[in-house]
């Protein structure tokens, strides 16, 4: 294939881009050289962008016959030592779970994007956050963890995608970008970095012995129980290291805050609007926005001011992240929850009403 003129957006200056396409460009700038995917709404602009851009970068775009094939192509390419990504939306990510478990078990670096829609089952094509459990608690079989990022803006989608490739290589572990349909579809100004990605040595990859070394094997099978336990202990040590080093969150707790809201992704932006409305009504409200969903930012919930009476978690789900909030607080504060499902999302007015309830400011309710 002839290398065509690059249609890459300029780096270092703001450009207006759709979330899904900006994510694709960020991956390319992170050194992603292969993309395997299967069409599903609302992430379809991403593979289409890769189909157009990858040939310009001498990279590989291949539309697989299924999500199962796509994730296993990712396994093969990651095992061969290149930066590789796949993307899908909720039902497709369910199909990829077997492969993700193998990738984690074989300790391969890869980036997996889930632009979430409503579920369960075929659900809808409208946005959701109901794959939090699946993303952060395992998803596939076996004891493994993914670093999971929940970006809230198109810029953050770009920055976290680049970070995801670096983290994946550092730990030889799959990393997930957990966006929602709103973020994938919205357009915002975004600035791409101009730096070139660092070259990462992968002496373990199956690149052919080339007369220089013995056989390399990519594998997750350990038939002897002692060996599999030892492998698991090694993995757990790595996950513990990730847990210590890879926490990211935003925390804005004003002095005298009565309530602290917890939300991630697009929902956090809605909550920020509601917090501004509350301030105008004289209610001081804080926000903890987990950016790494795993590892969850437990530390953000330590040493909250004594003025905080309760915590309100808002999600586009029936209440999934709220369980981690409760674990982090360990009973120290009451935790309220407000969620919308099925492709509906919270609006600031409704969140404000929930903030008032959490603050005990609800009309007719004694404090």
């Amino acid at each position: 294939m002839t290398k065509s003129a690059s249609s890459a957006p300029a780096g270092g200056v703001p450009v207006l881009m759709k979330g899904n396409e900006a994510l694709g460009e960020a991956a390319i700038r992170a050194g992603c050289r292969a993309f395997f995917g299967y069409p599903i709404t609302p992430q379809s602009e991403l593979p289409a962008y890769m189909a157009r851009r990858m040939p310009e970068e001498d990279g590989v775009f291949l539309q697989a016959e299924s999500e199962l094939a796509a994730i296993n192509m990712v396994y093969g390419a990651a095992g061969a030592g290149v930066r590789v990504m796949t993307s899908s939306s909720s039902p497709g990510i369910s199909l990829k779970q077997e492969g993700i478990s193998y990738i984690a078990g074989a300790e391969l670096p890869a980036v997996i994007v889930n632009i979430m829609r409503g579920g369960p089952g075929l659900g809808s094509i409208m946005p959701g956050q109901s794959d939090y459990f699946q993303a952060t608690k395992g998803g596939g079989h076996g004891d493994y963890r993914l670093v999971v990022y929940g970006p809230a803006t198109v810029q953050e989608l770009v920055d976290l995608t680049i970070r995801a490739f670096n983290v994946a290589d550092r730990y030889r572990s799959p990393v997930m970008i957990l966006g929602d349909g709103i973020l994938g579809q919205m357009m915002e100004p975004v600035v791409f970095p101009t730096e070139k990605p660092a070259e990462v040595a992968k002496p373990w990859a199956t690149t052919g012995r080339q007369g220089t070394r013995g056989r390399n094997v990519v594998n997750s099978l350990y038939l002897a129980a002692e060996e599999l336990e030892a492998h698991n202990l090694r993995l757990q040590a790595k996950f513990a290291e990730m847990h210590s080093n890879e926490v990211i969150y935003e925390s804005i707790i004003p002095e005298g805050a009565e309530v602290v809201c917890v939300a991630y992704g697009t929902t956090a932006r809605v909550v920020k609007s509601a917090i501004a409305m509350a301030r105008q009504e004289g209610i001081k409200v804080g926000l903890i926005r987990p950016i790494s969903l795993w590892p969850f930012p437990d530390e953000a919930f330590v040493n909250l001011p004594d003025t905080v009476r309760s915590v309100l978690t808002v999600e586009m789900s029936a209440g999934q992240m709220v369980e981690d909030v409760r674990l982090a607080l360990n009973g120290r504060l009451p935790v309220h929850f407000y969620g919308r499902m099925g492709g509906m999302w919270p609006i600031p007015r409704d969140v404000l009403a929930e903030i008032k309830k959490a603050a005990g400011r609800e009309a007719g309710v004694a404090r």
Binding site: R33, A34, F36, V60, L62, A64, E65, S66, L68, A69, A70, N72, M73, V74, Y75, G76, A77, A78, G79, A80, V82, V84, E98, G99, Y102, A106, T206, T207, G208, R209, Q210, G211, R215, N216, V217, V218, N219, S220, L221, L223
Partner: protein
């Protein structure tokens, strides 16, 4: 295929085969087929530039038995894993080793799409008409009337269908460049198997497209036979159902119609019986 019979070097361990004991049962033909694949890798000088993909089933540990780089794939997904490797490193020679449960049942989608994309990989497909590793359950390749753990009264066509003819199906795909079915039931057929495997790897080296060799193989343990009875069963029961021959060959007649390929396969049956 009689024109491509070759001499087999008998007492020289192939360098591409690891010097370890295998876990295969006595009388199982995986060992012979492993050796043939390794011999061909030696002959074509592939060991330093090959990546083999082991599948799930009896041959899952193939990554311990070949000296080239190896990846172990999820059940049925070896052609997808091979695609991932080959697409990002086209200079490598990428091959899969899959049984009939893996390739012809759970992995049919992956192998068919690899063939239709003309993926430049080589597939070694072991057809022994049964699931070995899990204890002798029926496979899509199980013969009508054959008793297995899950067809205790014999495979009933009206209930579980007829044996799958993967090679014939794959030969219909334009991207398939070399498709052959061979057998392991006697030395002459092992020689033909070796020739077919060599041609399959050459197909990849020439960049012609997808190549696959389906190899009729034994499973004395799960068939409940002695090794000798098992070889006889391949010859007498399997070969008539699974005609031997070359179904697609870019070198000989890349443009041969599927119908002609089917006819050739049928006519190959008596000639290739090896009696």
């Amino acid at each position: 295929m009689s024109s491509i019979v070759e001499r087999i070097p008998v007492y020289e361990p192939p360098k591409s085969l690891s010097d370890v004991s295998s876990h295969y049962c006595p009388g199982c033909t995986h060992g012979a087929t492993h050796r043939i694949v390794a011999e061909v890798m030696d002959e074509l000088g592939l060991t330093d530039k090959a990546v083999g993909i082991a599948s799930v089933g009896c041959s899952v540990l193939a990554y311990n038995y070949f000296e080239c780089d190896m990846q172990q794939a999820a059940h049925g997904r070896a052609p997808a894993v091979a695609t991932g490797v080959k697409r990002v490193r086209p200079e490598l020679v990428v091959w899969t080793y899959q049984g009939d449960g893996d390739l012809a049942s759970i992995g049919t989608n992956e192998v068919i799409h690899a063939a239709l994309r003309g993926e430049k990989i080589t597939v070694i497909f072991i057809n022994n008409a049964i699931y070995g590793m899990t204890g002798g359950q029926a496979a899509p390749t199980t013969l009508i009337g054959q008793k297995t753990a899950t067809t205790p009264f014999g495979r009933d066509k009206s209930w579980s269908g007829s044996p799958i003819h993967l090679s014939e199906m794959l030969a219909l795909q334009e991207g398939a460049a070399f498709i052959a079915r061979t057998s392991t039931h006697n030395p002459a057929h092992l020689g033909r198997t070796r020739a077919a495997i060599k041609r399959a790897f050459q197909t990849q080296l020439e960049g012609k497209g997808f190549s696959l060799v389906e190899i009729l193989s034994t499973c004395p343990t799960n068939w409940g036979m002695t090794p000798v009875e098992a070889l006889k069963w391949v010859e007498e029961q399997m070969v008539p159902v699974y005609p031997l021959g070359i179904f697609k060959d870019w070198q000989a007649d890349g443009a041969r119609s599927p119908a002609a390929a089917g006819a050739a396969a049928k006519s190959a049956k008596p000639a290739e019986g090896g009696k």
